[in-house]
């Protein structure tokens, strides 16, 4: 076993573990602090030194956060509603992106049509035009269509995705031609082939993309900031910001922390639940 890459030196092992634990601490400590803060009352956590052990106000804090009506100087809108808005937005963006990218990649890989390359490059070029770059014209369009403060306004401008189209295109190109031909011999038309063969084969890629795009949609900040003006259409990411009043005002830091933790929960859940598929989709080449 001397020839393997694994070295058996206790000192190195200890060092390795130290580095890892340090890394874990750096990532986990702020989360722990947020949790501790959310379990105290607003008065308790502003005292120095800040308590490092959980308090007894946990349920109260989360109830206040979810249902609204806190004492803080900033926004006291109910977080439950914001979570709902965020969830719908993220789901629509993720599913919409996947659906549109699958179809456009399917068209680009499997069909011959005039100006096919032009269309491909047109899609490709949009990679250079993220929302931040085209935010003014996009805002103008959405506003003129009367889509401000609607789910459509929050999601549609973010749905078109060159990245996902490109990813599916690359995947479809690796599907052997013989499979396409076998399906043709079996009498499967294009849409039948798409539904019965391509979709099932793409499921791991779809899962990986879903995770990435769900988090992308959930974490949107700049666009919802412009596209929404009413309290009941704010996603939770904006909600956190609005809870914090500027200046010397007294903020309900426990509620803010609770909201932050709540906002982290769904993306974390998606990652954990889809982890197996996600990894498979990124590394697997099984066809």
């Amino acid at each position: 076993m001397d020839t393997t890459m694994v070295e058996r030196r206790p000192a190195l092992t200890v060092l390795g573990h130290l580095v890892m634990w340090l890394g874990v601490a750096i990532v986990a400590f702020p989360l722990y602090l947020a949790f501790v803060a959310s379990s105290h009352t607003a008065v308790e956590i502003v005292q120095a030194p800040m308590p490092l052990l959980p308090g007894s106000n946990l349920w109260e804090t989360y109830k206040t956060a979810l249902l609204g009506g806190g004492e803080g100087a900033g926004s006291t809108a109910p977080v439950a509603r914001m979570m709902w808005v965020s969830l719908v937005t993220a789901l629509v963006i993720a599913i919409g992106k996947i659906a549109i990218s699958l179809l456009s990649a399917f068209a680009i890989v499997y069909f011959r049509f005039p100006l096919k390359n032009v269309f491909f490059w047109a899609i490709f070029v949009t990679l250079m035009l993220p929302v931040e770059v085209r935010i003014m014209p996009t805002y103008k369009v959405v506003a003129d269509l009367g889509l401000l403060d609607t789910y459509a306004g929050l999601t549609v401008p973010l749905i078109a995705s060159a990245t996902a189209t490109f990813l599916f295109r690359q995947f479809f190109l690796t599907v052997p031609d013989e499979l396409v031909e076998a399906a043709r011999m079996d009498g499967a038309g294009p849409m039948r082939f798409f539904k019965d063969i391509l979709l099932p084969l793409s499921r791991t890629s779809i899962a990986a993309l879903f995770v990435i795009q769900f988090i992308y949609g959930w974490n949107q900040y700049l666009w919802p900031l412009l596209a929404t003006t009413s309290e009941d259409m704010y996603p939770v990411v904006i909600g956190i910001k609005r809870m914090i009043a500027g200046g010397d005002a007294a903020n309900d830091w426990n509620v803010v922390m609770a909201t932050a933790l709540l906002a982290m929960l769904p993306p974390a859940l998606v990652v954990i639940l889809m982890q197996k598929w996600f990894v498979k989709g990124l590394v697997d080449s099984e066809k």
């Binding site: 052997p176 013989e178 499979l179 031909e181 076998a182 399906a183 043709r184 011999m185 079996d186 009498g187 499967a188 039948r192 019965d196 063969i197 099932p200 084969l201 099984e286 066809k287």
Partner: protein
Amino acid sequence: MGAISLRKVEKTYGQGAKAVKVIHGVDAEIADGEFIVIVGPSGCGKSTLLRMVAGLEEITGGEIAIGERVVNALEPAARDIAMVFQNYALYPHMSVFDNMAYGLKIAKVSKAEIEQRVQKAAQILELGGLLERRPRELSGGQRQRVAMGRAIVRQPQVFLFDEPLSNLDAKLRAQTRLEIRKLHQELGVTSLFVTHDQVEAMTLAQRMIVMNGGRIEQIGSPEEVYQAPATTFVARFIRSPPMNLLLGQAEGARFTLGGQALPLPRAAPRNGPLLLGVRPEHAQMQCDGAGQAPLWPMQVEMVEMLGAERLVYGRLGGAAFTLRIEGTLTPPRPGEALMLQVQGQRLHWFDAQSGQRVR
């Protein structure tokens, strides 16, 4: 029923000045129930021809008829054919059963009928216990049988095979070859089988089509192709090691090459420059020099042992010559001179320019 007619079939890729013609007007008539092997070196157009019959490639010229129907404009699924692909092309996410049933489901065959047809095919191919498995859980040979099963359940007029054995190891290949023959005897369905392997072609074919450079060189039974190759290409392509071809001047019962006159056991069909073909297994060594004249002198350069036989490489009248001898015979030594004897009916004559057989 399942007869196939190829009439002046042509295939051109590209258009205008960039057009490349890969099939140059192929004519062939294949009878119902025949097992035909299309054989040729890579790039000879054999797969393209098969794919044109399958409907996977457009036909640029001429027409193809299956049964009485010209199929040029028909989709593959409407041609009443089934194809076995080189890499099997099984749907990886479907069970063996679903792989075989997929085409029938699309054709809206009733559930009971699908079940019955798949079970029957599975029984013929001994896939009974594997119906619930996925393709990746099968061995190469089993996948190959599933691919054949998928073709069988459709009960087509014609089976098309595109080098289906090339991904199997030698032992499995020989075994599958037998199975395919047995299957053909049982079902009696017209079969077109493409391969680059001449052994596969010889053993499977009732008739074989030898192709080269987008043209048919010869159509005939394996015996005909072996005993009377129509061109020098066929002569050298079928059987390994290939036929020896000697370029020289024929004059009556004498053949002159490299300044050396060889006596012929039987007069050449005509005088003038000709190619003389002799298969390595058809020349005999005359060690004691006492055999029947005429004898040809051969200079030995190298000997290879293949077990049952030996290959002797050397020169005859300045040209390379290969001889095949029994492994039990005492082999000649490099540098030694041999006397060879060939019987008159074992000589093949070809035109020196066109390479066509001269009778």
